[in-house]
Amino acid sequence: MASRPEVVAPPEIFYDDAEARKYTSSSRIVQIQATLSERALELLALPDDDVPKLLLDIGCGSGLSGETLSENGHHWIGLDISASMLNVALEREVEGDLLLGDMGQGLGLRPGVIDGAISISAVQWLCNADKSSHNPRLRLKAFFTSLYKCLANGARAVFQVYPENIDQRELILNAAMHAGFAGGIVVDFPHSSKRRKEFLVLKCGQRSVNASMLSRSKNEDGESCSDEDSEDEENQTVCISDRHRPRKKPKKNNKSGKGKEWLLRKKEQMRKRGNVVPPDTKYTGRKRKDRF
């Protein structure tokens, strides 16, 4: 295995013209990034209404991840620090708009306008101090704080990351939580060193932070990428460090609403805050008939 690119050079140097081309012409990488992006998009849990969304792709590179967003009908804005990677994206005529920028400097976007964000194999770069002026903690803070602001209420951000170690994972997660996000880490294929993939799933805003947030973990079927080992018995997903829920909850149908328990709890909270809330009756939170 080659050493981690993050320790070789800063991203704008590492991803030069040659590396950008090499990266994007490897069918293995193309395949892996597409699979990761599909999964990230799934974890974004966008409303199933067939209306295209405005999404961000952070560290979009040559547009491999963004392409998945386009294929699913969404508009996207991609940000990357490597001009060479973006040039390859131009050559490939990606549909998203591209910005040359450094996520560690924060995102310059208006508040509340973005419907969701993905970032594939990029955020771990922020843990490095590539310049004397760089402080990873501050850069992560600038990034997550600005991301939180530009997301619409209730929107999610999903990051597939390769943290170098537990400390890095904690560093990233803490920065996200401090910025106001709720959420945690979803691990696919936890017992396979090769296939193990981590996704940081973050949610913005007060609404329904905990309900079924991380309970959607799925069991992957055995479909494996060409170069990967297939350890079928290990094809599963676990959640670690979920800040809001100690253990996985049984699968819930998203569309069936939040349930009576949740409602009663919410109403109690609202009462405690001094709001006027209708009394609880036997009708509270009951199942409604379909209207059509």
Binding site: D50, L98, L99, L100, G101, G106, L109, R110, K131, S146
Partner: protein
């Protein structure tokens, strides 16, 4: 870069209070036809800052947008077509985006705005 993106972007320079909207200096504008999606346009209409959008479209040489707009106009196909065209089909290919507060220019080359900040701007 399309006006969709321009309408979401603001200047991120340290100390700048209102970095929106970035003024457009257009040297080259290109048009690319894309399919229209009325539902998307309706959703975007709620988010778009209309004044900034109209000014930006003028800077790009497109002058068909009404100066004021409200959601009832979304029922008109003519309006939708214009909105769609300005939002998604005009691309700023070469030029610059200028911070409204500091006058700092962010160059746009091959359609990509360079939003990298200098160290003293972070």
């Amino acid at each position: 870069m399309r006006l969709l993106t321009h309408n979401m972007l603001s200047s991120n320079i340290k100390g700048v209070v209102n970095g929106f909207p970035l003024r457009i200096e257009a040297e080259k504008v290109v048009e690319k036809t894309v399919e229209m999606n009325g539902e998307f346009l309706k959703k975007m209409f709620e988010k778009i800052d209309w004044k900034a959008f109209v000014d930006a479209s003028w800077a790009m040489g497109y002058t068909e947008l009404p100066e004021e707009a409200d959601s009832s106009m979304l029922d008109s196909d003519e309006f939708l077509n214009r909105f769609h065209h300005a939002l998604l089909e005009l691309h700023l290919e070469e030029g610059a985006l200028v911070c409204p507060e500091t006058g700092r220019r962010f160059p746009v080359n091959k359609g990509i705005p360079n939003m990298l900040l200098h160290e003293d701007e972070v």
